[in-house]
């Protein structure tokens, strides 16, 4: 999966899709590209107030309230659960990290496994049975 997006709605969608992959015991490699890398910064993560909404931005409060009412996990919780259930590796794009002020792995939430370049992503995409760009 290429996770380009760093908005709360798309991160939530990625988390739900990832949960389906986890239920299926799939091996998943997530390449966190440009805007996605910002969301993975330690000081952002689950802090929804620091994340925008890509679609219907004016309805963010309604969206967040509905998620809470339906007891839907936060996007970080989805990613964490999936990592516990199946083999999920989260790779942060080195350039993306730098753009958002993250040079080292410890600048990102503890779910991130390593910092990689675009070559690794292409290889994984070529070898994958299913490939998504979010």
């Amino acid at each position: 999966m290429a996770l380009f997006s760093g908005s709360i709605d798309k991160l939530t969608a990625a988390g739900i899709i990832l949960s389906g992959a986890a239920a299926d015991d799939m091996d998943v490699d997530i390449y966190v590209l440009l805007q996605g890398a910002r969301a993975f910064k330690k000081e952002i993560g689950d802090d929804a107030s620091k994340l925008s909404m890509a679609e219907y931005p004016h309805l963010k409060d309604e969206f967040m309230e509905s998620l809470a009412k339906l007891k839907v996990c936060t996007w970080v919780e989805f990613f964490r659960q999936a990592k516990e259930l199946t083999n999920v590796k989260i790779h942060i794009c080195g350039l993306a990290g730098k753009i958002w002020g993250g040079e080292k792995l410890e600048d990102f939430i503890d779910l991130a496994d390593d910092i990689v370049g675009i070559g690794s992503y292409m290889t994984a995409a070529q070898e994958a049975d299913v490939h998504l760009f979010i």
Binding site: G20, A23, D24, K71, V72, Q81, L85
Partner: protein
């Protein structure tokens, strides 16, 4: 399997996923099935309409047996055999 057969099943584990939306029940089922033995039966309670299709499809794909589902008021029960 008739509803009478389902009533007489020996349930090894009950997973109460009522009150959570998709993918909550699926993840709960996935976690719980690892805790039962081969041949054991699991009952999943869910109030999420999508689960009724989702969990049986997942179960069959993973090689488990879907025994049936029973509607209750406001939720339903799904039976799987590992």
């Amino acid at each position: 399997m008739t509803s009478e057969d389902i009533k007489n099943l020996k349930i090894a584990k009950v997973v109460d996923a009522r009150g959570t939306a998709c993918p909550g029940p699926l993840l709960a089922a996935k976690k719980a099935i690892g805790e039962i033995a081969e041949g054991d039966i699991m009952e999943i309670l869910s109030s999420d309409e999508a689960t009724k299709n989702d969990v049986p499809k997942w179960a069959v794909k993973k090689g488990y047996t879907f025994l049936g589902a029973v509607e209750e008021s406001g939720y339903f029960k799904i039976y799987l055999k590992k």
